[in-house]
Subunit: 268 residues, 2 copies
């Protein structure tokens, strides 16, 4: 059995075990913020995290997972000192999915220190994107297209279980910059990058042309909340309002689609 | 009260009423195909359908909906001869959502007769896209960007409740072509349009360049299933394999993101 290198491991049979209670509590955003740790689920995703240098504090596997996902579990156990086998009945307390694979890792959040914006860099910034599936999908797209980093302002939670799943590991590999106050972030970085506020307004400038005119300067396309869009303060702080021209009767693009087109135009 | 013009209407209090049983049965794909009708949910979506010329056979509203969504309901009742008030307890039988608005319409499916591909037209074709949320999202994006029609092969169900919600009305307004056999559709239309098979392969041609070379000819970007991609038969039938160049470690784009970029490049 491929995963056999991980034995012997502690066996946990009680749902009220302290380690299980702690891991389960990390499904709440406030607990994650308080502890600086998060819970990751899924054989592939946990193995990706291990390979991406994410610090794994503790791992849990069901007996079924040990026999099914031995290859992934070997990768996880190579970097994680504390591996526990859990009863399958406990999975439900830790899982956010309908059909869990029975593989979970408690991980340390990434260092949130600011990455400096580099010359010619291509960035996206999200203000208050609410739906974790959108945040995750945007990471996946941005990594695939080659965006240099994502800048996130308050409200975008990359450690939400749905966001982690939709990102398929991208949010654990890509550079991330956390900007608690987006306006002051934009103001203090306007010297090194052009900030383009993406809005669904016919009178804003065509995004393709605006990006072309930025030449070698770093660019940051800034996208807002699903319902409310960008705040007026962030639009004012940006150098320019840009738009993806629309033709049909649909009123707007989903934010993850708008982000995909902005990312694509940025890197082309 | 704005919706008052719709009175008097039949009141339905029993969950086993024949009209309710029929409407509820339309939540199944096989029943929809058998009857050629589908169930639409939501005040805005049903009102959009009424304004788009969708034939509404019968409408159901809860008392709560009548007081909240009078403006939308006026639009619906203007084109629907049979409006029924239903007990709020019945909503659950008809609803596919967690928090229903209590507005439902039984509608006739659209005429599936083939629209001819026009010179300079820009089209997308989907082969076996499985996730109804993806199908719906692709409609929304394609309408917004100005794609002329979507061509669907077997497996893409636009009348699934999730697909209808994600499309936000676009699938009831845009031209749709149903191609039961995608290979024969491609072969019989290759004279009037260039078919480009979108694949995640580094050795395929850059989609931007390929579309540019099509000039005034109609173009059809063909996208495949979420997991399996396009079938070999469809790839062979297409004139060319094209790709969206990827740079990061992410292995692929979500199909709705790939469709968005293909649509964007097609109409630019």
């Amino acid at each position: 059995m491929i995963g056999s290198g991980v034995y012997p491991m502690e066996k946990i049979t009680s749902r009220s075990n302290e380690k299980i209670k702690y891991a389960s509590a990390l499904l709440s955003a406030s607990k994650r913020r308080e502890c600086g740790e998060f819970l990751l689920e899924g054989a592939r995703l946990c193995s990706d995290a291990a390979q991406s240098g994410v610090e794994i504090v503790r791992a849990f596997f069901t007996a079924d997972a040990l026999s099914r996902y031995g290859e992934y579990i070997s990768v996880i156990s190579a970097v994680c000192k504390e591996c526990c086998e859990i009863d399958s009945g406990i999975s439900g307390r830790l899982s956010d999915t309908e059909n869990t694979q029975g593989v979970f890792c408690v991980c340390k959040m990434r260092d949130a220190s600011a990455v400096p914006l580099k010359k010619g860099g291509r960035y996206l910034m999200l203000e208050n994107v609410q739906d974790p599936s959108n945040t995750g999908a945007i990471f996946r797209t941005c990594e695939a297209l080659g965006i240099d980093a994502l800048i996130l302002s308050g409200g975008c939670d990359i450690y939400n279980p749905k966001a982690l799943r939709a990102a398929m590991g991208s949010s654990l590999r890509m550079d991330v910059i956390f900007a608690a106050d987006p306006v002051s972030y934009i103001e203090s970085n306007s010297g090194s990058a052009v900030f383009l506020a993406c809005v669904p307004s016919a009178d804003a400038r065509d995004i393709t042309q605006a990006l072309k005119d930025c030449g070698e300067r770093a660019t940051v396309c800034v996208l807002g909340n699903e319902g409310a869009g960008l705040t007026g303060e962030v639009i004012s702080a940006c150098g320019e309002r840009v738009t993806i021209p629309m033709k049909g009767r649909a009123e707007s693009l989903n934010v993850s689609v708008a982000a995909a087109i902005a990312a694509w135009e940025s890197v082309k």
